[in-house]
């Protein structure tokens, strides 16, 4: 198996695919949004609960998709918890930079999300990794239409 494939499917990603974290429907989420990738049919629903200051108190998801999209949604829920809205959207920007930026760019403050660096070698899979994030952005911005990667 090639080095690129090993980098793409590293153990953290396989683990989060097998056992996605925060894969549940919260009782009383304050925001929710759906994401859909028309190219491959992957679907995700993101549930947010914001506290009084607008910070993310809880984030959970449901859906079905490939290992990259499932693991990305799972790791996203962990990364977002406790962040304010501006911080969360900045994290999405940094994550996007990791997936699509120049090979030598190394975005700051992405923590565990760095495991997705291998996706850069697979442009066809960038949308898998960003699907949950697009849905998250729709949810926090209070938009009702399904977020699409296309």
């Amino acid at each position: 198996m090639s080095a690129e494939l090993r980098e793409l499917y590293q153990s953290t990603i396989l683990d989060h695919n097998r056992e996605p974290r925060n894969f549940r429907v919260p009782a009383t989420p304050s925001h929710r949004a759906d994401g859909y990738n028309p190219l491959c049919g992957d679907r995700v629903t993101i549930y947010l609960t914001l506290d009084g200051d607008g910070a993310i108190e809880d984030v959970a998801f449901q859906g079905s998709g490939c290992a990259i999209s499932t693991a990305s949604a799972s790791l996203m829920t962990q990364a977002l918890k406790g962040l304010g809205r501006a911080e969360a959207l900045a994290l999405f920007d940094n994550f996007h930079e990791l997936l699509t930026g120049a090979p030598d760019s190394s975005p700051q403050d992405i923590g565990k999300l760095a495991v997705f660096a291998g996706v850069r070698e697979f442009p066809m899979r960038v949308k898998c990794a960003t699907l949950a994030w697009h849905a998250f952005r729709s949810a926090i911005e209070g938009r009702s239409e399904t977020a699409k990667t296309e």
């Binding site: 499917y9 049919g41 990259i68």
Partner: protein
């Protein structure tokens, strides 16, 4: 002529690229690779023979016109049609079906009428009829398939009613490979005076098709799946039906006489070919028809049947693999899912082993829903595939299962 796959492989430059193992190209149902004669024909046409057609009085234009019309006759012969004017050049199967929906559908289908399709259809033979029905106040009826993706003929017959104005069915399912018993469909429809359109995108490149023997009314196929160029395809229509149809698009090339007040349209097939067509594409498609005819479509059919049987044997040895679509009659396509691995991940991992397959819904979302899978991995066959390609597929699937175990 006997079928020699190793000799055929030499005709395909893309299989000779690089120094590593050759590409195991198992996505011919999406688009076929091109043999050298087709590649050369495009270069030769643009280098030596190019001009617009049906216009110039100069020799180069007359020559280009003759080559374009010769290509039409090659397509006619390939499909076994009686007259070249029954062949309309289009962009591909999608445009051919849209043309029939627009020109035949709008004039023959009205409020309360019905169009009957099957549950196996590619979106290209579904959405045009659905939209036409919405526009005309007509009803789209769908003949169901069983769990094996085999068409339910009795249900099909029961759905043929007094208001059925057209049957549109695929000849071979692009998603799961089911070979539809089209003779039976046509017999049942014609017994009630209902015309039949067949989507031949997957069938025409895989076995002999003779529109006269089938007695089919419309037959559509794409050049790019038939080892020809992309952006060109053909619609066969019985002359009597085409003659009675209004134009598709209007403009240059499809007129007889134009005044500011009115226009007299050209005869078929020019009536349906407004604007400058894909001239080189048509010439390339003619060469692709010649190429397949020189091999023999009976030989192509035997080769692909042997490949499919071998693939079913090899993949049948993998317990975590489930074949989707197990109709008794199948051609050219093997769709499957793996326990615990999403089709897109399978596609990416297989690509890492030089095995190109398609993963997804294959533009047949309602069929996927009926069969209870969001997506499948699809390995599809072509004339250049050999047993080695299939063994590499099986090995790569095992590696994929190990990675995700």
């Amino acid at each position: 002529m006997s079928f020699d796959v190793e000799r055929i492989r030499k005709d395909f430059p893309i299989l000779q690229v690089g120094t590593g193992p050759p590409l195991a190209y198992l996505d011919t149902a999406a688009s076929a690779q091109k043999p050298q004669p087709v590649v050369d024909a495009l270069g030769d046409f643009y280098t030596r023979h190019y001009a617009n057609i049906h216009r110039g009085v100069y020799e180069l234009s007359a020559d280009a016109t003759a080559r374009y019309e010769a290509a039409r006759d090659k397509v006619r012969a390939f499909l076994g049609a009686a007259e070249a004017r029954e062949i309309v050049f289009v962009r591909g199967t999608t445009e051919a079906i849209n043309l029939v929906a627009a020109c035949y559908g709008r004039t023959h289908i009205g409020t309360g009428d019905e169009v009957l399709i099957t549950a196996l259809e590619h979106h290209a033979n579904l959405v045009p009829w659905q939209q036409l029905c919405i526009e005309r106040g007509a009803k789209l009826r769908v003949a169901p398939v069983d769990d094996a993706a085999h068409l339910d003929i009795e249900a099909f017959e029961a759905l043929l009613g007094p208001r059925t104005r057209l049957v549109a069915a695929t000849h071979v399912s692009n998603a799961v490979g089911t070979r539809v018993p089209v003779r039976e469909l046509i017999r049942l429809a014609h017994a009630r005076g209902i015309p039949v359109l067949l989507d031949g995108a997957q069938a025409a490149p895989r076995f002999p098709v003779n529109v006269l023997e089938l007695e089919v009314d419309f037959y559509a196929f794409s050049g790019h799946k038939l080892y020809g160029p992309s952006g060109i395809g053909a619609l066969y229509g019985r002359a009597e039906l085409l003659d009675a149809m209004p134009p598709y698009q209007t403009g240059g090339g499809m007129i007889e006489r134009v005044r500011f007040e009115e226009t007299t349209f050209a005869a078929v097939p020019e009536r349906f070919e407004a604007g400058t067509p894909n001239i080189a594409g048509a010439v390339g498609l003619g060469v692709a028809c010649d190429y397949l005819s020189s091999i023999g479509m009976e030989a192509v059919e035997r080769h692909e049947a042997a490949l499919l049987a071998h693939a079913e044997r090899l993949l049948g040895e993998i317990p975590e693999l489930r074949v989707i679509g197990t109709a008794a009659a199948k051609t050219g396509v093997l769709s499957f899912v793996l326990d615990g691995v999403h089709p897109h991940d399978v596609g990416t991992v297989l690509d890492g082993s030089g095995v190109a397959v398609r993963a997804g819904h294959h533009c047949a979302q309602p069929l996927m829903e009926r069969l209870g899978v969001p997506a499948t991995v699809r390995a599809s066959l072509g004339i250049y595939n050999n047993f080695d390609d299939l063994e590499r597929l099986a090995d790569a699937i095992r590696r994929c299962l190990k990675l995700f175990a």
